[in-house]
């Protein structure tokens, strides 16, 4: 993290004393350099033990005009724009219980601070899973993954969290605790607030609990992959597979400055089904070879975030969204904007969502990402910067939010009039 962090806070000792009263002194500590949020240093870290405690702390902070950064596992706390202000971190770390796994109803109710890995372990005991392969499941929490709308390769078949979350409880800045949705899969009573807070970056409220629909764990899994001569050939295969009657769970292309394009297909199901589908896939992609079950290749997104040998910091990772039929072109443009000076690599899902990583000089990365974003936005896509090197803070993380930005600001005003929650981190300065 950037060493030149500067405290920007208006926190006073009365507030601190009041917070200690709520969560006990044990769970209030001075923030350290490692608690900085995209270069902005908060003063305190507060860890409430319950939804009620969390709401009380929020209400107090809101009344005092403080800025609050909610944090789960902290794995994505650097995403988004640097906060305009950051007085304290509100950690959900202690709120980490799986409340109820109603396995016969295929649902699970869980506190926001529970890690994805712990959730998966719990539901796996009954042969089920949350059909989501997000980044860093061992540390990332339910609340953090919901707030950032992180998703992985399984999205092609199961949708993203917005399609899996069926209920949430949120603490608003003014201390209101509100629930929406419920523990049944099908429910159209009232507005769908679970979707509103998914991907809202914690700017509307702090998610304290969520309820998800679950899926059965697959009986068998198989990955089949194939190297192609160029990106166009990879694109052709992806569209042919998408247009076939194969029932694959995931399909991705990876490609880079130094690697040949490659497609990978994940099948899940019964042994008989997998055998038949593998044979059918060979008819579309004759060169394809069979790999392991669901192996390392399905972690490619996460690997893009790893620091290189020697720990060099000079790289950025961004999420892009393009049309499924324009993945190859997007890859070519990533290469073009990287020119010969940047190293780049891309992992894209057949949904059109992908990660691009660029390594090299900061100013060149910034220019390349801006160029790629402009190109994507010109055809209805987007590019959002997740991981950035020091010295690139001035590049907006989000890009163009379109003609609904005014409406988004109105929603923000209704939920958090004072700008208490994650101020300045989201689109359009929200």
């Amino acid at each position: 993290m950037d060493a030149s962090v500067s405290p920007k806070t208006s926190l006073n000792s009365t507030f601190e004393a009041d917070v200690r009263e709520i969560v006990t002194a044990k769970y209030v500590r001075a923030a350290q350099a490692s608690d900085a949020v995209a270069g902005v240093q908060p003063s305190l870290v507060v860890e409430p033990g319950s939804e009620q405690e969390l709401a009380k702390v929020l209400k107090l902070a809101n009344a005092a005009g403080l800025a609050v950064i909610a944090r789960g596992g902290g794995t994505k706390v650097g995403w988004g724009n640097p906060p305009a202000r950051a007085d304290f971190i509100l950690s959900t770390g202690r709120m980490n219980r799986v409340i109820e796994h109603a396995w016969a109803d295929l649902t699970v109710s869980v506190e926001a601070g529970c890690t994805i890995a712990k959730l998966q372990e719990t539901v796996a005991k009954h042969g089920q899973r949350l059909a989501l392969d997000s980044l860093r499941p061992e540390r990332a929490t339910v609340g953090g993954v919901l707030s950032t709308n992180d998703s992985g390769a399984l999205r092609l078949r199961f949708g993203s969290l917005r399609d899996l979350v069926i209920g949430v409880t949120v603490a608003l800045a003014d201390g209101t605790v509100a629930s929406s949705g419920g523990k049944v899969v099908k429910n159209v009573a009232g507005y769908d607030l679970p979707k509103l807070v998914t991907g809202a970056f914690g700017t509307l409220g702090v998610i304290t609990r969520a309820i998800f629909r679950l899926h059965p764990l697959p009986k068998e899994t198989r990955t089949i992959s194939c190297t192609t001569v160029d990106a166009a050939e990879a694109q052709r295969l992806v569209l042919a597979i998408q247009n076939s009657k194969l029932a694959h769970s995931a399909l991705q292309i990876c490609c880079g400055a130094e690697t040949q394009p490659r497609i990978e297909v994940l099948f899940e199901g019964t042994e008989a089904g997998l055998r038949a589908q593998s044979a059918q896939l060979k008819l579309i992609a004759s060169e394809a070879t069979q790999g392991d079950g669901a192996g390392e290749m399905w972690n490619r997104g996460q690997k893009l975030f790893s620091t290189t040998e020697g720990g060099a910091d000079n790289f950025a990772v961004a999420k892009f969204a393009t049309l499924p039929a324009e993945i190859a072109e997007t890859m070519e443009m990533a290469g073009k904007f990287s020119a010969s000076t940047l190293r780049w690599s891309v992992v894209a899902q057949a949904t059109g969502i992908g990660w691009v990583r660029m390594d090299g000089a900061v100013s060149e990365i910034a220019a390349a990402l801006r160029g790629l974003r402009e190109w994507l936005e010109g055809r209805g896509g987007s590019l959002v910067i997740a991981r950035r090197p020091a010295g690139m803070a001035e590049v907006d993380a989000w890009g163009n939010a379109g003609d609904a930005l005014g409406l988004m600001r109105a929603v923000k005003r209704q939920f958090d009039q004072q700008g208490t929650l994650n101020p300045g981190r989201f689109v359009g300065g929200i």
Binding site: G65, L193, L196, T198, A247, Q277, P324, S382, A404
Partner: protein, 495 residues
């Protein structure tokens, strides 16, 4: 945009000038004001609520919708958007002194993009027409409400419609990728788009299912799905809903996710049989299980489903052998509501959801309530996801029976809430169930939802008085608002 202070609306005085202005927007054939013709629009599929609107407008473009809404906004005239009018919760019920904006003339399929599996439509397009359009390429539009041959996509978006196959494929919200929306002040916004995860709040996610209270969708980008390699439908006859329910539990426990699991009780079977002769066995409960996917996969799983049904006491099992047989099996199920007319002069269609495992308890309770009220209740369920459609049968000609039926129907919903479920799985809250909202949600829950309403439509002109038992004036400060010192001093703008 801004959450301005709204004043309580006074009944609007329509004058000739406004009618003239509206006529200029939509042309003489696009404006209905005669009482006889207005009666067509006085209710939707829920016919016990009726309100005559002042006028009905039939725009044929987004621009016309914007112009109409701008007039409404300026004059504070409430408006209600309407698709095919098949809704079952009074969501399209007109508002007194308001206008109805019917989207039926906006019925063009604007773009079919097979490589990206997207179809862009106007709101008046009929659900089944989307599938018909992409069927040659072997794609389909997955949400399949029973009214799919007549209901509109715009209405499906408003209600977040489901259908029998949403167990596997999801609801309307899963299949809508982008919306063009005319907001209540006449401005146009684009939510979502052809690509996924547009930066910003998922306002599209909250718009779908908002029952017309957040604006009018004028263009909708849909996701279409490739037809599976094979589809098989199994029909199993059980002694009662308990055994059929146990079979469903066993399928879920075995890690299966069928495309659909439907259950009908004896009364529903009798009615369906009388109406469409689906050749159903006469039994206590019928289970209809549909599996789709690759041939080898479906064959393996179907053998397992068969085994589970037998183990749970199914005494007759049939697998539809042809597309024609399959269609007949579904025809009986999809006609079940209308079929009630064969066995009862009047009936109320209820829509509630329970955690699936509560089925035996809730069925027993419904049986007791039915006996107590002296009225028959037929049951049709989307059994995989716990969505019940109890049909309360009564005779309006018998004095007092309608009230008894309504009370019984309401008690069934309370059972659903008590079991941890919902007051509606797919029909919506509309006018019909807004009083039940307070039983399902707490005051802060409802107040928080209405903050969204206030951001979209501070004057509350778009389908007002639906969903929420008590509308919140948008000028009210949400929660315990304390002005920030900088704000008071006029230094900072907060959003």
């Amino acid at each position: 945009m801004g959450a301005g202070i709204s004043e309580p609306r006074e009944p609007h005085i329509f004058d000739a000038r406004i009618f003239q202005e509206l006529r200029e927007i939509v042309g003489p054939r696009g404006l209905i004001t005669s009482r006889e013709e207005l009666h067509t629009y006085e209710c939707d599929g829920l016919t016990n609520f009726r309100v005559l609107p002042r006028a009905v407008l039939l725009p044929d473009s987004t621009e016309q919708v914007q112009k109409i809404v701008r007039v409404c906004h300026r004059e504070k005239i409430p408006f209600v958007a309407r698709g095919s009018g098949t809704g079952l919760s009074g969501g399209a019920l007109p508002v007194e002194n308001g206008v109805v904006i019917s989207l039926t003339r906006m019925n063009k399929i604007l773009e079919v993009d097979i490589p990206n599996a997207r179809v862009t439509v106007e709101p008046g397009v009929i659900n089944l027409d989307v599938t018909a359009r992409v069927a040659p390429q072997e794609y389909f539009y997955a949400p399949d409400p029973s009214s799919q041959s007549v209901c509109s996509i715009g209405g499906n978006v408003a209600e977040n419609s489901g259908g029998a196959h949403c167990l596997k494929y999801g609801f309307t919200t899963t299949h809508v990728l982008g919306l063009e929306v005319v907001l209540a002040d006449g401005s146009l916004v684009h939510l979502g788009g052809k690509t996924l995860d547009a930066p910003g709040y998922d306002l599209m996610g909250v718009f779908v299912g908002s029952e017309g209270t957040l604006g009018i969708a004028t263009k909708i980008i849909l996701r279409i799905v490739k037809r599976p390699e094979c589809v098989q439908t199994l029909l199993a006859a059980f002694p009662s809903t308990n055994e059929a329910g146990a079979a469903v539990s066993d399928m879920i426990a075995a890690g299966m996710l069928p495309a659909a699991i439907e259950m009908m009780d004896n009364l529903a079977i009798q009615a369906a049989e009388a109406a469409v002769h689906a050749n159903y066995p006469d039994c206590g409960a019928l289970l209809l299980v549909e599996l789709d996917g690759p041939v080898a996969e479906v064959a393996t799983l179907m053998a397992h489903v068969d085994e589970i049904c037998k183990k749970n006491g199914a005494w007759e099992i049939r697998v539809a052998q042809s597309d024609a047989e399959r269609a007949l099996v579904w025809k009986g199920r999809k006609a079940a509501f209308a079929a009630m007319g064969r066995i009862s002069p009047n009936y109320i269609v209820q829509d509630g959801v329970i955690p699936r495992t509560e089925l035996p308890n809730v069925m027993r309770e419904i049986g007791l309530l039915s006996k107590e009220a002296g009225l028959r209740v037929a049951n049709v369920f989307h059994a995989g996801d716990g969505n019940l459609h109890p049909l309360v049968l009564y005779d309006r000609r018998i004095s007092g029976q309608e009230e008894v039926a309504e009370t019984l129907s309401g008690k069934i919903l309370e059972l659903c809430i008590g079991a941890g479920g919902s007051i509606t799985g797919e029909h919506g809250v509309g006018e019909d169930k807004k009083k039940m909202m307070s039983k399902m949600y707490s005051e802060p829950d409802l107040e928080t939802m209405q903050r969204v309403r206030c951001a979209f439509d501070p004057l509350q002109l778009s389908n007002p008085s639906k969903i929420f038992p008590r509308p919140r004036l948008c000028g009210e400060k949400p929660g315990e608002y304390v002005a920030h010192p900088l704000e008071t001093a006029g230094i900072a703008e907060r959003f």
